[in-house]
Amino acid sequence: MDEPDDDAVLDRLAGATPGPGAAELTVAQLEALLFVAERPLTRREIAALAGVDFETVDARLGDLEVALRGRGVRLLAAGDRVELATAPEAGSLIARYVGAEGVKLSPAALETLAIVAYRQPVTRGVIERIRGVDSDYVVRSLLHRRLIAELGRADTPGRPILFGTSFEFLERFGLTTLDDLPALDAETAARLVDGASAPAGPDDA
C-alpha cells in the first residue's frame, strides 16, 4: 500500500484549525488516533492534528509505549513514523485468523537483510563488499517484498542509493523498533563499529 505524501497530508491539515480542546494530547487521545489511522503516522502529522509541539508528541508516545507493554497491541516505531500493531506473542494467532503464510527467504536474502538492518542506511556497494558477491538481484528482491526501502542517496561520488529496513520488516520479524534486533556478537560488533567508522570506499557507489 502506497502511503500518501507527508506534505500533501500536512497541506490538508493546515487548512483545518484545531477544534475545541485539540491543543492538548493525552495518551488516550494518541492511542485512539493511532488505532483509527490505517497507516503509520509521522510525529509531524500528530503534532499538526493535536496542535502541540514535537516534544509533547514524543513524551506522549513514550507514555503510550510504556502503557502498552504486556498488552495485545504495541507501539511500532521506525524513524519518524509510528503505528499500532499486534503484539509479537499474538503473531501466530493473528496469522491463523487472516490466513497469512510465512515469508520464505533464501540464505542470501537473509544475509543481505541482516546487513541492511544492522548497518542502515547502507549502499549496495557496502552490501556487496561484505558479502563478497554481486547483490543486485537480492536487493531488488527485498525491495519488491517491501522488506527494505530506499532512504535517499549518499553524499559520495555517484550518489549511490541508501537502503534501510521498512515497517514491513519490523512487522514480519516481530520487532517494535530496530533496538529489538538480536544483539550481534560483542567481539565482532566492535569490529563492525571500526568498519562503520572507516571512510567509504570506491565500491560504495
Binding site: 490505517e38 499500532l84 500493531a85 499486534t86 503473531g91 496469522a95 487472516v98 490466513g99 544475509e111 520479524f173
Partner: protein, 292 residues
C-alpha cells in the same frame, strides 16, 4: 575408485558439503555449490567443516581445498566466477608467502604495500560470518511466528496481503445472464433513422427572376457569363430554358453572332412589349408544355 559422496551436513536451506569416502576431510573436500552464492560463504563453510577457528586458521592451507571446490563450480555460476577467482588468488598469494622464505627487507617492503592479505581476508570472513549468523537469527525469529499485524484499510486488501483466497461460490445461473441481456436490449435506444434525401427543386420562375435581376443591374447580359462557375448542369439548362421563356414573352431580346458564340440578352423596352401585344403578368408555365 568409489567416489560416492557422504553428506555430513545438510540442514534445511544451509550450504552443504560432502566428503569423499577414500580421502580425509583435511585434504580434500567435495562441495555441493548450489547454496554458495559467494566465495566468502564457500571459504567459511570449508573452515567450519574442519571445525577450525576463523580467527586462527592459516588460510593458505585452505587454498587447495578451495581450488578443488572451485573446479566443481556449476556453469550457471559463471557470472559470479570472477569473485570466486579473486578469493582464490588471495589464497594462493597467502600460501606462497607462507611457503617461501622471506628476507627482512622483503617483509618490510610487503608491509609498506598495505595490510597483510591474510589478515585482510580473515577480517572479511569474520565480518561476513557476523551477518550470516545475524541472518540465521532473523530466520529463526521469522519462523517463530512473532509477526506483527496492523489494521488494514479494507478487509479485502488485508486478505489479499495475507494471501487468502475468497470462498468458492456457486456458478452463475445462465438464466440470470439471459435476463440481463434482454433488459439491456430493452433499455437500448432505437437506432436513429437514416437521413432523408430531399430533392433539389429548380423552377423556371426562379431562373427567370435571376435573369431579370441581372438585367436590372446591366443593360446587356451574356448568358455564358451568367452561368459561369455553375457546375450543376440542370441549373444551367433550366436557366437557358428560362431565357427562352422570357424571349417568348418578349421580355428579352437575344442575339448570337455565331454558333457557340456569346449569347447576349437585352431587356425589351415597354414600347416594344406593347407593340408586340404580349401580356407580361401571366405566370410562367413550369410544365414546359409550350416547348413540347
Amino acid at each position: 575408485m568409489d567416489r560416492l559422496p557422504v553428506p555430513v551436513m545438510a540442514p534445511r536451506e544451509t550450504p552443504a558439503i560432502s566428503f569423499t569416502f577414500d580421502r580425509r576431510p583435511e585434504t580434500a573436500t567435495q562441495v555441493r555449490l548450489e547454496a554458495f552464492e559467494g566465495p566468502l560463504a564457500l571459504l567459511l563453510a570449508l573452515i567450519e567443516q574442519r571445525q577450525l577457528d576463523v580467527l586462527t586458521v592459516r588460510l593458505g592451507d585452505l587454498a587447495a581445498a578451495y581450488l578443488e571446490a572451485l573446479a566443481l563450480l556449476p556453469g550457471d555460476r559463471l557470472p559470479h566466477l570472477s569473485t570466486f577467482v579473486g578469493v582464490a588468488s588471495q589464497l594462493i598469494l597467502i600460501k606462497s608467502r607462507a611457503l617461501l622464505p622471506r628476507s627482512s627487507a622483503l617483509a618490510e617492503a610487503a608491509a609498506e604495500e598495505g595490510p597483510d592479505p591474510e589478515e585482510e581476508l580473515r577480517r572479511r570472513l569474520v565480518l561476513y560470518r557476523v551477518y550470516r549468523d545475524a541472518g540465521l537469527a532473523l530466520r529463526a525469529r521469522l519462523e517463530s511466528g512473532v509477526a506483527l499485524f496492523h489494521r488494514e484499510p479494507a478487509a479485502a486488501y488485508a486478505a489479499g496481503v495475507a494471501g487468502a483466497r475468497p470462498a468458492d461460490e456457486a456458478p452463475l445461473d445462465p438464466a440470470l445472464l439471459a435476463a440481463a441481456l434482454v433488459r439491456t436490449a430493452q433499455l437500448a435506444p432505437p437506432p436513429a433513422p437514416p437521413p432523408e434525401l430531399v430533392a433539389r427543386t429548380i423552377t423556371l420562375a426562379e431562373c427567370a427572376e435571376a435573369i431579370r435581376a441581372a438585367l436590372r443591374g446591366a443593360p446587356l447580359v451574356v448568358l455564358q457569363e451568367l452561368v459561369a462557375g455553375i457546375r450543376d448542369r440542370v441549373l444551367v439548362v433550366v436557366t437557358f430554358l428560362a431565357m427562352l421563356e422570357l424571349v417568348k414573352r418578349r421580355e428579352l431580346v437575344v442575339e448570337q453572332d455565331a454558333p457557340w458564340g456569346p449569347i447576349r440578352c437585352r431587356a425589351t423596352t415597354t414600347a416594344e412589349r406593347i407593340a408586340a401585344g404580349v401580356a407580361t403578368d401571366v405566370p410562367i408555365d413550369e410544365t414546359l408544355a409550350d416547348f413540347a
